[in-house]
Symmetry: C2
Subunit: 274 residues, 2 copies
């Protein structure tokens, strides 16, 4: 594993870093394939948007790409985690002005996933832990992730690959580490993330690919009933690409045509994503 | 400043610590006076309760007290920050089982506050950033504190000492780093924290002291209207003790008898708290 903190080879950060103290920062998890980062532009755009929303400024993203790329293995798939925190600060919630952000990069080799599950589908369940509604943080991949941890703990021993999280009003938001799409009558919908959840990079890519294929996509509030009556369900994230769902609690789902088509389209953009 | 990570003198922690990755941990901020920690028992009880709620187990709290006490300065007031995270883990929200928690201690000297403000009162304002309602995290002093950071940023340049935060339904919860009490007709009330906010150690102490003084205390939902029509308002936290409020936005408040009485009572428990 390669680890860099502010460009220096180390795996240590200060205990006074606000990322540790308060979760005051954001992160991106990216896939590299043979030394290339196919979705870099979308990741960078989201990173910059998140930093702006949290006013973690100034942070120069210019050197990041080369710094990461120079450390990639050109023979394989790797997972890059890029964290940017507000940096070191004194005790107290008030951010230092100006702040001096900390960049943290780790690069690990990716082990191949289970090809059979990627074809036949994953089993998932509904979690009890919900997402709170917070318009100022929704969409961002920030470092305050206790809700997803609590939800993930619910499926630690159940044999499910993922857990579905609702918001506190009962609307479907996402899985704990994947975005969620449903297919009904040839059209796609995915939950509106104005108040909760993470707006994933793969979600954005898949919406674009569906448009290219003339498959209608709607971003909207989605209920559990709609989810259970969907023709197909699939999950997405930057590392896993498209995961078909074959079972949601006791409901058996079909791995359908549209899911498989989008899975193939993602594979064209990111050759070894699946 | 003295810093200890897992009992070792260092100010560095692994970038793979889940405290940094996800805010997966809790903290306590404590005041020491001449080498003693007057509210240790309440802090320890809250810490253990928070760790249990987040299932950060097993963590042996037995050695903590001596470890901290041996590093205190017996001549002055100091601020102790004790953080316990779930420790190092691989990428992903799923906690390692069992986890090996990280304890992080920092001890800094406390500078004296402004005595005049502590007598005459502080000016505060209402913040726009609200607390989301999350029953599984409410009350805990966990490391996911972006909401309070965003609220605190709102008063960075306004000249206010603190900002009041509501929840998303408009109920009053607390200030960004203090709990909140209001006095009306000789009785005290403080917001119910079932869904949002941090249940402060000083809040607990003050509730007990008020009971001792036969001042009725109610924990309940509180509206902004009730706040504005209070006879007295005060804020509490472990370091500041009791802060009287003299102005909430454009409303002038009186620093009244009950606030002053409780301030004095806290000073008896923690001699140099104010």
């Amino acid at each position: 594993m390669i680890t860099l903190v502010n460009g220096r080879r180390t795996d240590q950060v200060s205990i006074h870093d606000r990322g540790l103290a308060y979760g005051d920062g954001v992160f991106e998890t990216m896939l590299s394939v043979k030394g290339e980062i196919p979705l870099w532009d979308i990741h960078l755009a989201r990173l910059e948007c998140s930093l702006k929303q949290l006013n973690i400024q100034p942070f120069d993203t210019n050197g990041l790409f080369d710094m990461i790329k120079n450390n990639l293995d050109k023979t394989r798939q790797q997972i890059i985690k890029l964290t940017v925190t507000r940096g070191i600060g004194p005790r107290g919630y008030a951010p230092p002005i100006p702040c001096k952000p900390t960049s943290i990069i780790s690069i690990t080799n990716r082990e191949p996933g289970d090809a059979l599950l990627r074809t036949n589908g994953f089993k998932i369940k509904l979690c009890e832990t919900y997402y709170a509604r917070q318009v100022k943080l929704a969409g961002l991949k920030h470092l305050n992730r206790l809700e997803q941890i609590l939800a993930r703990m619910e499926i630690a021993h159940t044999g499910h690959a993922e857990g579905i999280m609702l918001d506190q009003t009962g609307k479907v938001i996402s899985a704990t580490m994947h975005n969620l799409f449903l297919v009904k009558d040839g059209a796609i919908s995915t939950p509106d993330l104005t108040f909760s959840g993470v707006a994933g990079v793969m979600r954005q890519l898949v919406i674009g690919l569906a448009h290219d294929e003339n498959i209608p996509v709607t971003i909207k509030e989605i209920s559990m009933d709609e989810l259970l009556s969907a023709d197909e369900l699939f999950l997405t994230n930057s590392i896993d690409g498209v995961w078909p769902i074959c079972e949601l609690d006791s409901t058996i789902m079909t791995v359908g045509e549209i899911t498989s088509k989008l899975q193939a389209k993602v594979r064209e953009v990111i050759p070894s994503c699946d």
